[in-house]
């Protein structure tokens, strides 16, 4: 089989990134290079251990935003396929949050597309992240640095102030 050009999964349950890479690789037998990025729930917040992380999405709208990003990647580089798996709901420290992969004939395109997708998922996909520690919980918003990476496509919202980090 030859894989679909865009595969998006929003999951409420944990996923296995190794299996995700195997499946993506199997789906794109013509790829010469497959780049991927895995984001993992961090173990500690500002100063104390994270008990869990809650990720909120906007069902339907979030998928569409991710699909737009994937199409933009396809427009920008000659890709055989891209895959985005994103968790939502409650996660434990160390749990995979996001897996991005891109397949192409030559390595540069896969690497560039993977970096583009993860950079833009941070600031262009409707997700909201709450970190719960022993002393309470707090919403995490992207940093100005996160916005800087995607400034050409999507500047920080007007009036955005660097809330944290």
């Amino acid at each position: 089989m030859s894989g679909e050009p865009v595969s998006i999964k929003l999951l409420a349950a944990p996923f296995d990134p190794g299996r995700a890479l195997s499946e993506f690789t199997a789906a794109h037998p013509d790829a010469g290079g497959i780049a991927s990025f895995l984001g993992v729930t961090r173990q500690s917040g500002a100063n104390e251990p994270v008990q869990h992380l809650i990720l909120q999405c906007y069902p339907g709208v979030t998928e569409r935003a991710i699909e737009d990003l994937c199409r933009t990647a396809h427009d920008q580089w000659p890709l055989l396929g891209v895959s985005v798996i994103h968790r939502y709901g409650t996660m434990a420290p160390g749990d995979p949050i996001v897996f991005v992969a891109a397949a192409s004939i030559h390595r540069q395109e896969a690497l560039a597309a993977t970096e583009f997708l993860i950079d833009n998922l941070k600031t262009r996909a409707p997700f909201w992240k709450k970190e719960v520690t022993a002393s309470g919980s707090r919403w995490i918003e992207p940093t100005l640095e996160d916005y800087a990476k995607t400034a050409d496509l999507h500047p920080a919202p007007q009036g955005f102030k660097n809330a944290r980090r």
Partner: protein
């Protein structure tokens, strides 16, 4: 009735992610809705009007203050934080 959605920290401020909102007129200006919410809660009202808050109507981000009809879904979205 329209549905209001408050995402991220706005949900904590609004006391819940989802809320039904009774429209004063069949076609109510979005600005009017913001004014009503602001009268109810000045802190929430300010956060909703903050330029960093994006507003989506039926899943599409709007930049103009258009009109809202029955069954419309209005989402108030603070800065995204995925990945």
């Amino acid at each position: 009735m329209a549905t209001l959605l408050f995402f991220g920290r706005l949900g904590d401020m609004a006391g819940g992610v989802e809320r039904e909102f009774s429209l004063p007129e069949p076609e109510t200006k979005l600005k009017t809705i913001l004014d009503v919410l602001n009268r109810e809660d000045l802190v929430l009202g300010a956060a909703l009007r903050d330029p960093s808050t994006r507003i989506a109507v039926n899943g599409e981000i709007v930049t103009e203050m258009g009109c809202i009809k029955d069954c419309d879904e209005i989402a108030f979205m603070p800065p995204f934080s995925g990945g």
